[in-house]
Assembly symmetry: C2
């Protein structure tokens, strides 16, 4: 099996003057910034109670247009719980999602091991779930999870009309529709919709605060009150009802206010950067034209060669384009999510770096 | 059912100049203190990796005398996982613990709902598990959880020789012994043992950082490496493998260093305060002579009357003895865990307050 020589590329990236993706280095400054202006006597939340957590849950419920919202330490926990609740209510262990859904590939089969739920995988791994996948689901599927955007295929989105049609179909059949909105904030500019408008198509919604928002960790699960109340019981069972979650809540709230209105700007950045990459002879981006701040960079060369090229580029230009490369078929790829850092790179430096990449890839 | 008039007592307690239990108010100052001296460029932990989490896990493994340790967001998560691992290894869903075990009364039956484990309850609720309870367990029990001290009965401890005998019995029968050490640091002075000496009696150990240690939240699960490696997989499944746990790790480490050697001091404080309470005519403490920094205050009067007395005392003396009262049989009780705050109360003020309590209780 291919072994990544990450140490070398990762450390060159680390030392590069400019870095392409993300907002800032993952260090404790993120926490310090959010707490700096805060009154030290602000009362902690306690087992889900108190003003600090209550205010943020209310703010998010309103933003998402749902009756109620609950803060969770992680999306893994929030989403398993959502699917368990919908599954229990209809006494069926069958839910459906994309083959590259987070629950399928990043959670060590927690949904099965903890909840006994067996998913039906819809669509091929390299494309979005379509209406005909949904209308063709087995009869006993009681809940469908849709991820917007579909992260593992570069952050693709269905047309809004297709989303509406899928939602209408599920409503008509009594199939619960759950939104994996890990990157929901990021899709609003493309759809030209509010979060509440999109969430109205779904019965339950999860959003994350450490992707585009740039917090430390944490998630919100939102829906009708009877649903969220049940989720609080499951949060306790999962060991997620910590005595205090405020380190994540305060940083989520601070960075939400800082960045939620910058998603169109990040998207524009992604479009610009994708154009530069697509001008390289060995490179295509997926999607070719980004619909959010993210995309995947596919290179028709083996990872070793791409890594070497990225090292060369970083050393020559001072711009780290990626800290890693993963194998993909005969070639390789890496993911980019554009954020605050892009604005720090002088345009000509970035153009030069990607031109150097083209040359290095040959 | 009895409804606590907590608002009134809780708010009077809140405003009292002196407060008897704990270290400090639960506010964000705790976080600020731990991070104040910290370099903002300190790298975050990432999905369980990195120096920050690795160093603390190593430090705790060494302190507990185990091969390996894993940081968890909560004890609820860590302990369910420990029992699941031991249960899976011996293909039996039977584990044993005390009727007032945290898993039995505070976790919404998570152990059953998530792991399908059915506990055997040992001993009567109002006393410790004894050797004869253990030797009399059903044959199919594969794991025993012991809590030191047994919190829900005031923080009682078995004689060390009995603990050794229970451990020897379990070893001989191949029964895994798990330590609920939520308050392990607090028992070391009474046993005159190191944590490692006590933990050597157990196959797996959980410790908490927001009881006597006074952190924000978080737990360590320790044992042999094959056990902790499996626990990391389950941590991911439970949704506890957050991208970063450093807010809890940094505050745990900071407060561990600050307080781990003060447990004998807190215990001495508890002995002193318990003597004062036991001089009240309607009051007995459980245990009568504390063996850690904690005990329960039992009053032979209904909660309403005790609350009223505590309000009177706080208003007259400026000392808040408790923020709540709970019903217990015909009478009532509250829990005390002595910490840094005790040192702030002038001795004569505290003596006066408890004398006033005696008078108010009549």
């Amino acid at each position: 099996m291919y072994q990544q020589n990450t140490n070398s590329l990762a450390s060159v990236f680390q030392q590069a003057e400019y870095k392409l993706g993300g907002h800032a280095p993952r260090n404790v400054d993120l926490l310090k910034q959010a707490f700096d202006g805060m009154d030290a006597e602000t009362e902690a939340d306690m087992y889900g109670q108190g003003k600090l957590i209550g205010d943020f849950e209310r703010k998010m419920a309103d933003y998402l247009g749902k009756s109620s919202a609950v803060f969770f330490p992680s999306g893994t926990m929030a989403q398993q719980i959502a699917l368990r609740i919908w599954s229990d209510r209809q006494s069926s262990k069958r839910v459906a999602y994309h083959p590259l859904c987070h629950l399928e590939i990043h959670e060590q089969r927690g949904l099965h091991e903890l909840h006994g739920i067996e998913p039906v995988l819809l669509a091929d791994a390299d494309r979005l779930i379509r209406l005909d996948d949904v209308t063709g689901m087995p009869e006993d599927v009681v809940c469908l999870l849709l991820e917007l955007p579909q992260r593992e295929i570069g952050g693709q989105l269905p047309a809004y009309e297709e989303l509406e049609a899928i939602s209408a179909h599920c409503r008509a059949r009594g199939i619960k529709l759950h939104l994996d909105g890990a990157r929901l904030f990021e899709v609003l500019p493309y759809y030209r919709k509010t979060a509440a408008e999109i969430c109205a198509l779904f019965d339950s919604v999860y959003v994350s605060f450490y992707k585009g928002i740039g917090g430390i960790a944490g998630a919100i699960l939102a829906g009708e009150s009877d649903f969220t109340e049940e989720s609080v019981v499951w949060k306790r069972r999962h060991g997620g009802d910590l005595i205090s979650l405020y380190p994540y809540i305060v940083t989520a709230d601070y960075n939400f206010d800082l960045r939620v209105d910058k998603m169109a700007h990040y998207w524009a950045g992604a479009e610009k950067v994708a154009r530069l990459f697509n001008a390289c002879r060995q490179v295509v981006t997926v999607p070719e034209v980004p619909v959010t701040n993210m995309f995947h960079v596919h290179v028709a060369l083996p990872p070793e060669q791409v890594e070497e090229a990225l090292v060369t580029v970083a050393q020559a230009s001072g711009v780290g384009l990626s800290s890693y490369v993963r194998p993909k078929g005969e070639g390789s790829y890496f993911e980019l999510s554009l954020g605050d850092r892009l604005d720090l790179i002088p345009e000509e430096k970035l153009a030069l770096a990607i031109k150097l990449l083209d040359e290095a890839l040959g």
